[in-house]
């Protein structure tokens, strides 16, 4: 399957576009990282891909159909969205949070059935979270919370998973845990789009990288092609150096 955007533009205030002419696509088994400075439009673009915002210009679609032609339920069965923060006002258990992912399958006046409960169990199992099943959400660590919401996306049975800064506010070990777990899902045919402020995570875990700057797409390609000092300097406005020869990383260049 393909999730695509064609010449997408978006403006919160008419006449002040925050996104212009973005054309990108992501296929099954692929992890597309969206990099770019604060306010460069990558989260807005992620929202457009997820159908949470309707592009002002251009179109987003799934295979041959524009997203706007799908019902909210049909869209939710195809695309899952993992927000940066999930803060329920009440202390639901991990399992109850994951079960909410079955919303697009449960009709208005009915309850989740055996299949929905199994899907929630399977999602927790896939991510190795079965031990957290009955734990109240507020007792989970930041990394565990992020993974529980990823599991909710899996329970949704979607073909594409969109994650808004899944590595934000996590220590390096938890960043690794979350992104590796997401990476392992690629083998099952899931397509993943990730926004991030870490070029190094894009280098480590991305199959492709799109670099945003001021609402435009600066570059798109393999991590090695895009996460380079010249392109990063163009996007972020400070010089970078590439270090290491095995696993590679970028660092801001001290002057």
């Amino acid at each position: 399957m393909r999730l695509w955007a064609k010449a997408v533009g978006y403006a919160y205030v008419p006449g002040k576009p925050v996104l212009r002419g973005i054309s990108l696509e992501v296929g099954s088994g692929e992890a597309l990282f969206l990099l770019g400075p604060n306010g460069s439009g990558k989260t807005t673009f992620l929202d457009c891909l997820g159908g949470l915002r309707r592009p002002v210009e251009g179109e987003v679609g799934l295979d041959g159909r524009p997203l706007s032609a799908l019902s909210p339920r049909a869209r939710a069965r195809a695309i899952a969205y993992v927000p940066q923060f999930h803060e329920p006002p009440f202390n639901f258990t991990a399992w109850e949070v994951v079960l909410m992912g079955r919303a697009p399958y449960v009709r208005l006046l009915s309850q989740p059935g055996a299949r929905d409960r199994q899907a929630a169990d399977r999602a927790l199992q896939t991510l190795g979270l079965s031990a957290l099943r009955g734990r109240p959400y507020y007792t989970l660590s930041g990394g565990e919370r992020r993974l529980v919401v990823v599991a909710r996306g899996l329970a949704q049975g979607a073909s594409f998973l969109l994650l808004d800064e899944p590595d934000a506010h996590l220590d390096p070990a938890n960043q690794h845990r979350v992104l590796r777990a997401v990476g392992e899902l690629l083998g099952t045919g899931l397509g993943v789009v990730v926004t991030s402020h870490s070029p190094n995570n894009a280098l480590l875990y991305g199959s492709r990288v799109a670099l945003f700057a001021q609402g435009r797409l600066l570059a798109v390609g393999s991590p090695g092609e895009v996460v380079t000092p010249p392109l990063l300097e163009q996007a972020y406005g400070i010089p970078f150096v590439l270090v290491g020869d095995g696993p590679r990383a970028v660092l801001p260049a001290l002057t």
Partner: protein, 347 residues
């Protein structure tokens, strides 16, 4: 699964309390007689439906039969429904507005109902007019809030602010009505109505309350799991395929039906809508699949018990709203401390 059975078990709790409430009063009635009268009334009702002749009940004085069926039973039924309605609406509003400290009266339903009742007491002081205007006033108050909220984008916060505006405005209008009311007759009647109580409930009052409760309570017991989804942030719920705005307005409309019908019969009964959901949450957890049946049973049983106290504790009747207020504040403090401990403080 065990907690789920417990949650539905709460729906049975009001029945023994109701039975006790039928026995207790200025004129105590032994359980055997209460039972005989109830069974006979049921048989009589079924018989009438089938066109059969059912002989009158022997062995229980007619005045006792009439006391149970015409005075106590309507009041017991009203108390149970008022309690269930306020508790369910409160639980739902706490989720929809993502705020554990709100209750069903958040959006101006009680000031609207109070204004309606006061106008009726001023202009046409008949019980059915008071009840009808209170109900319509409650709907009107929330309608005004919803209209304002819609005009400003229908977000949760906007709706709450609109509710505060409407509440304050309608309370001011109520002040005018009180000001012009006759201080020897109408003003005390308004004040007493606002304090809340079920002493005036008769059989005919039960039909509108029963209908509204049947519609609202069965709606919420059916959508109970989906209410969980409304506790999510709007974009999150939308990403799960929920039509957030439509669902929120539907749920608020049904909640208003519950609260307005309760307030129109029982006046302003405070705390139940705030306290009972938290108590139920402490027992069966926050999942609305279990929370709503538990809150309904617990609310019904609690208001039944309190109303029985209200009419028996002193020789004069204590207004129900005063009693719930006296008990509610300290009980809520306990629950709130528990909540803070669980969350590790107020964020």
């Amino acid at each position: 699964m065990n907690r789920s059975r417990l949650a539905w078990g709460f729906l049975l709790l009001p029945f023994p309390v109701a039975f006790a409430a039928l026995m207790i009063g200025r004129y105590p009635i032994p359980p055997g007689e209460v039972w005989a009268v109830l069974v006979h009334a049921l048989r009589d009702g079924v018989g009438r439906l089938l066109g059969l002749e059912v002989p009158p009940l022997e062995g229980v004085a007619p005045v006792v039969q009439s006391l149970i069926l015409r005075i106590r039973l309507p009041r017991v039924g009203a108390a149970a429904l008022v309690g269930a309605n306020l508790a369910v609406a409160g639980a739902v509003y706490q989720g929809v507005f993502r705020n554990p400290l709100v209750e069903g009266r958040l959006l101006g339903v009680s000031s609207g109902a109070g204004l309606g009742a006061a106008l009726a007491l001023l202009l046409a002081p008949r019980p059915e007019v008071v009840q009808t205007l209170a109900f319509l006033g409650g709907l009107g108050g929330v309608g005004l809030t919803a209209l304002l909220g819609w005009a400003f984008g229908a977000g949760v916060l906007v709706l709450v602010i609109a509710g505060v505006l409407v509440d304050s405005f309608l309370s001011a209008v109520l002040g005018i009505v009180k000001y012009v009311a006759d201080p020897m007759g109408t003003l005390p009647a308004i004040t007493y109505w606002l304090l809340g109580g079920l002493s005036a409930v008769r059989v005919r009052d039960l039909l509108p309350l029963g209908l509204a409760s049947a519609v609202g309570l069965s709606f919420f017991l059916l959508v109970r799991w989906r209410v969980n989804l409304l506790t999510l942030a709007d974009p999150e719920a939308e990403a799960l395929g929920v039509s957030v705005r439509a669902m929120r307005y539907l749920v608020v409309a049904m909640g208003t039906l519950l609260v307005a019908s309760a307030v129109s019969v029982g006046g302003i009964v405070s705390w139940v809508g705030l306290l009972v959901p938290h108590a139920a949450r402490a027992i069966v957890g926050p999942d609305y699949s279990r929370l709503l049946p538990a809150a309904a049973g617990l609310g019904a049983a609690l208001v039944l018990a309190l109303d029985t106290l209200a009419r028996t504790l002193l020789t004069a009747e204590i207004p129900l709203g005063v009693l719930t207020g006296l008990l509610g504040a300290p009980l809520f403090l306990l629950l709130f401390l528990r909540f803070l401990r669980e969350r590790g403080g107020w964020r």
